[in-house]
Amino acid sequence: MSATETDGEDGTDRTPSPRADLCVVGAGPAGALIAAELAAAGYEVVVLDAGPRFDPGDRVDRMERHLRPGTDSPVWDIDPERDAYNSTGDRDYPLNAARVKGIGGSTLHWQGMVMRMHEQDFALRSSVGLGDDWPIDYDDLRPYYAAAERELSVSGAADNPFAPPRAEPHPLPAFPPSYSDSLFAEACEEVGLATHSVPNARNSEPTDEASACVGYGTCKPVCPSGAKYDATRHIDVAEANGARVLDRVPVQRLEHDDAGDRVTAAVYATPDGEEHRQEAREFVVAAGGVETPRLLLLSESETYPDGLANSSGLVGRYFMDHLFAGMGGTLDEPTRQKHVGFNTTESHQLYDRPDDSRTAIKLEFLNYAGPAPADIALTADSFGDELLEEIRDGYGTHVAMGALVEQLPRRENRIRLDPSRTDDHGNPVPDVVWSFDATTRRTIERANEVQREVLEELGADIGWTVGPGNTGPAYHHMGTTRMGTDPAESVVNPQLQTHDLSNLTLAGSSVFVTGGAMNPTLTIAALSLKAADHVVERL
């Protein structure tokens, strides 16, 4: 290798592969799963990611950044120039709190909750007159859900009476309920709310890939033990099967042939400022609900003046997230919070919509309500015995409920380019235009009503509420390259292949037609495994 074949900085060869079957843009869960599937099948795979390859040995340091006040560094490195963005909708969108750029993507900081979407989610328009129908149904995705649960080593149980049908058990047993779950269970029973376990993408038992959870309690934003699934596991699989995974190579644009039928190359930048062209037979863009449409919009050409694969004009449209609704307070007894950083009980009883009056609600019972002793100590204005009393008062009796609330797809919510500001490579930054409507507001209010009913039954002194006025996004970017059968009304077909370019697949939550109220990553994984099958068929 000559010096010019490396980027001159860390000695890594970031030059293009001479013969690639598949080029994947984005090393998050969608890209990693597809890369792993294709590499294992013997195809030549190249993965390009804008962010760095994080050292797993640094995770305890990252945990300390999270735990210790006074350190302003983000847990997962943000580059303010690379990650610049704008937010111009009615509601502010804190994009850089919502994502991690790097090998593993946002699974590095995710919570790790993995539920299947419901049958009704795929037929929302035809069943209750809300949103739109997907071009596939639950049965189409069902085998891929099962495969995704295996890939993510999901710990779960079959005790959820509201879950869609399944034939096989989860790969690992569910985490048992917490002590505070037992307090909630009685109150929920009194108010007629059924509770059940939570499927978690963290090991309740050791596997070949990772240890069992050891209870660091900092799942979000970092799991030092690796027991929580992140996409580096599938990057490792891909690389073990010969895939090349290049970090710090932001893709600048996609190029296509003269006819505009096929993508020919992904043009990427290396840390030394050079640009390279990675050619391949098939391309997968799996860069999330914001960067995927942005890359398409940046790839405008004479053939596609409004952006690549954007004949419909819908690239970037229908941006959705889940809204958080929550309520918490204190009891007059210990609640044993903060031992673990994940939840063990939920209620999906209010998930399916009875009619068009509201959207989906997923209720959560938190195991990490209130501050930990160190949180209180480090911000206290007292010391010694007085501080200990303050800590004893502040820790130990908190309870809290959360909820994810569905937001319907709205054309005016979108990701677009902001030509007034550019990133570190001179490309217009993404502008997040986001708000929510009256139906979503009503649903948040309904979630709060149920939360209040449960907490009052529990005897809680309610101290805080997150409702329509102070809600925020759950950091689940969805909908910006929606799936459909009509090229005028969608960007990709049910195979996740763009209508416009036959060798371009878009994978991830950007293809969601509606968002439901389930955490999206299991559906991302299932769709990605489905897309991988279709790519293999074409190759």
Binding site: S225, R336, K338, G341, N367, Y395
Partner: protein, 190 residues
């Protein structure tokens, strides 16, 4: 409640100092720069005495002020924790040394003696008068903010992020400690 050397080592694991297996005798010094890897032998060579006996004694004094009276064994706990903390992080060691000097300068202006020579009551009063209890920690901030960051909050983190310290408030597996997945299921009686 008796704090032990083992408690200090557990606290260090939360403070990302990492595995301490095989550590030799504590070496107090300014340690390597943040980015530099080191081994046990190099610590002694690179230690320039930024954190010496006076600084350690001062930190023990601060700890006795900010820790609750129910805690015993503070001297060994703080020395074990700080020995390794400063050896692993040269920037932190320099920050500690400078914060101790800042505290001493302030105290000498008030009491005409160094912090370690104050009575228990005056130590608490000194932190109060300096407004260390009122400020946000900031390693690059004002004098009280740096004292809060490098001295007070480091010691409070060592205690209350450890299982032993957090247990004073009923939490035996605090965030940052890999204490397993049994305790979250148990009620207050265990």
């Amino acid at each position: 409640m008796q704090l032990s050397r083992r408690d200090a080592l557990v606290a260090l694991s939360t403070a990302s100092v990492g595995s301490l297996a095989g550590c030799g005798a504590p070496v107090v010094g300014d340690g390597p720069d943040d980015s530099e890897a080191t081994d046990e032998n190099e610590r002694g060579v690179q230690g320039g005495g930024a954190v010496g006996e006076h600084e350690l004694t001062t930190l023990v004094g601060v700890a006795r002020t900010v820790y609750p009276s129910v805690v015993d064994g503070v001297d060994e706990f703080v020395r074990t924790y700080l020995d390794r903390r400063v050896a692993a992080d040269g920037a932190y060691a320099r920050g500690v040394a400078e914060a101790v000097a800042t505290l001493d300068d302030y105290v000498e202006g008030l009491y005409e003696t160094r912090y370690v020579d104050l009575s228990s009551a005056d130590r608490a009063e000194a932190l109060d008068v300096m407004s260390v209890d009122d400020v946000d920690p900031d390693p690059d901030g004002t004098d009280p903010q740096r004292v809060r960051h490098y001295l007070v909050n480091e010691l409070l983190f060592a205690l209350y992020a450890s299982p032993t310290g957090a247990s004073l408030a009923g939490l035996e597996n605090p965030p940052g400690h890999p204490g397993g997945i049994q305790s979250y299921r148990e009620g207050p009686g265990g």
